[in-house]
């Protein structure tokens, strides 16, 4: 073997070694990112149980959540976007969900000029007969730029009361966040309307 050939062989061996090492680094990084995606998915799907006043639900684990008193059963807010919130209310009422919803809408409109009902209709959600009100309002609190908030109230009968499961989010985030809310709504359980 000539000197030049020997040098070329050695060069190729070194280059091959280093290429393999670089390839292993790339593969390790891709593997890490794939596993990271699995962690992200697992976290996004994690929930925390709540139960109060005969109603139970599973809220997203990382959210700021507290059980309430009076009509408020549960309030959960997304720490990454505080305008995004889930509420469960327990209202006195009758089987006439439309009347209960209308009364509540009127009360809200009286307190907030910007509250606007977009649509209201009977629905079947999570295997339960209910009533849905879609609405919008403007949140100008806190001195920051006013934001348009889109929301949905789901009214379900519970014995002689009405359970209201609500979702609110900034208009830009509403559609993307709605799927996760549907999981929350499906987790809401109570006597006569459990999931």
């Amino acid at each position: 073997m000539t000197m030049t050939t020997a040098i070329n062989v050695m060069k190729k061996e070194i280059q091959s070694r280093e290429r393999l090492s670089a390839l292993l680094v790339i593969l390790l990084t891709l593997l890490a990112l794939s596993l990271g995606w699995a962690v992200k998915t697992a976290v996004a799907n994690q929930t925390r149980p709540f139960a109060s006043q005969g109603i139970s639900a599973e809220a997203p684990a990382g959210w700021l959540a507290r059980e309430g008193t009076g009509e408020l059963v549960l309030l959960a807010r997304n720490p990454a976007s505080l305008d995004q919130r889930y509420r469960i209310l327990l209202l006195p009422g009758s089987a006439d969900l439309t009347a209960v919803a209308d009364q509540r809408n009127q009360n809200r409109a009286r307190l907030d000029d910007t509250f606007t009902v977009l649509e209201q209709t009977p629905i079947v959600a999570d295997g339960r007969d209910g009533y849905k009100v879609s609405y919008a309002l403007v949140d100008a609190a806190g001195g920051s730029m006013p934001a348009v908030i889109e929301g949905a109230d789901y009214y379900f009968p519970m014995s002689d009361k009405v359970v209201v499961v609500s979702f609110e989010a900034e208009q830009a985030d509403y559609a993307a966040a709605f799927a996760q809310f549907q999981d929350f709504r499906a987790s809401v359980a109570y006597e006569g309307g459990g999931s």
């Binding site: 070194i14 090492s21 292993l24 390790l28 990084t29 990271g36 962690v39 990454a80």
Partner: protein, 312 residues
């Protein structure tokens, strides 16, 4: 010797480890850059001084900024620590000529990779800011390691590995640390600018702490993978060597930011918390000092053991 020099492919005259070097590069490879440790200590002190000066000026002058000027001042503040470090690097390295242009190139390349790949990957694809901070501890550590750690550290490694690594400019063991640190600083500078712009401007005092903390931490993590790169170039290392180096850098990245968050943000409750940003800066200073000292000492021992093996 029939083998070519590992660096310049000229006829080799000295063997060290598994490789052969010519007279010039044999001298370079053995060179102990003891100045790096002392110089980095001074750089760290200058950066801490920068923070103190900014906080002092803010509390003394109590400037009132419009939104636009606050943003501009924040961006300038994000860049100044990098200029301080680079200027100091130029001065301390004048006795040991190093291609300054190459260091600047690594700095710029690190910044470009952060802007083009790192930030979109971590912030948009993985949307880390939406879930990582509020997730359980196990998810914070794992997510920090697998996503943030590996993404950031791989890009800094790649900036050096796929550019200057195969050039003749990479002719000393410590060059791995020098070049990856430069890439890490460029990377951190872009992260800092993004932080300032995304926040619409920051309070100068706490903002300068975060800026310097990010710089020091990313430089330290990059230095670790740079050490592994340097040893890989001049010694025959096993295939798992560089993946191990990247894993260590990524793990340190995850652990540092996890503990920094825990210690500097104070106790967190649903409706309040007490921020202690100085703790994060102190942690970064200690981290950088320890890593720099450790790498300097380890590189010195590596060279000594290689030379001893040749004499034996």
């Amino acid at each position: 010797m029939s083998q070519p020099c590992r660096i310049c492919e000229q006829p080799g005259t000295h063997k060290m480890g598994a490789y052969v070097f010519c007279d010039l590069h044999y001298e370079h490879v053995q060179r102990e850059r003891s100045g790096i440790w002392q110089a980095d200590v001074v750089s760290i002190a200058l950066l801490v001084l920068f923070v103190v000066v900014v906080i002092g000026l803010e509390s003394w002058l109590q400037p009132q900024f419009s939104p636009g000027s606050l943003l501009l001042v924040g961006v300038v503040a994000a860049v100044i620590p990098s200029i301080i470090w680079l200027a100091f690097f130029y001065r301390r390295d004048r006795l040991e000529p190093e291609p300054k242009g190459m260091v600047i190139q690594m700095f710029i390349l690190g910044g470009l990779l952060a802007a083009a790949v790192g930030l979109p990957l971590v912030d948009d694809v993985f949307a880390v800011s939406d879930w990582l901070g509020s997730s359980p501890v196990w998810a914070q550590l794992l997510g920090g390691l697998l996503i943030v750690g590996f993404a950031h550290e791989f890009l800094k490694y790649a900036a050096v590995r796929f550019s200057v690594y195969n050039s003749q400019e990479f002719d000393e063991c410590s060059d791995g640390v020098v070049y990856t640190t430069a890439a890490g600083l460029g990377y951190a500078t872009v992260l800092n600018i993004h932080f300032v712009v995304a926040s619409g401007g920051v309070a100068l005092g706490t903002g300068s702490i975060r800026i310097v903390l990010t710089m020091l931490a990313h430089a330290a993590f990059a230095g670790i993978s740079g050490y592994f790169l340097g040893r890989q170039k001049f010694e025959k290392r096993p295939y798992w060597w560089m993946p191990l180096g990247l894993f260590i850098a990524a793990a340190l990245n995850s652990l540092f930011f996890f503990f920094r968050g825990m210690l500097s943000q104070g106790s967190f409750s649903d409706f309040g918390g007490t921020a202690r940003p100085w703790i994060g800066l102190a942690l970064a200073v200690v981290l950088t000092a320890v890593v720099t000292w450790f790498l300097s000492r380890t590189m010195r021992r590596d060279i000594e053991s290689l030379l001893a093996a040749e004499e034996g």
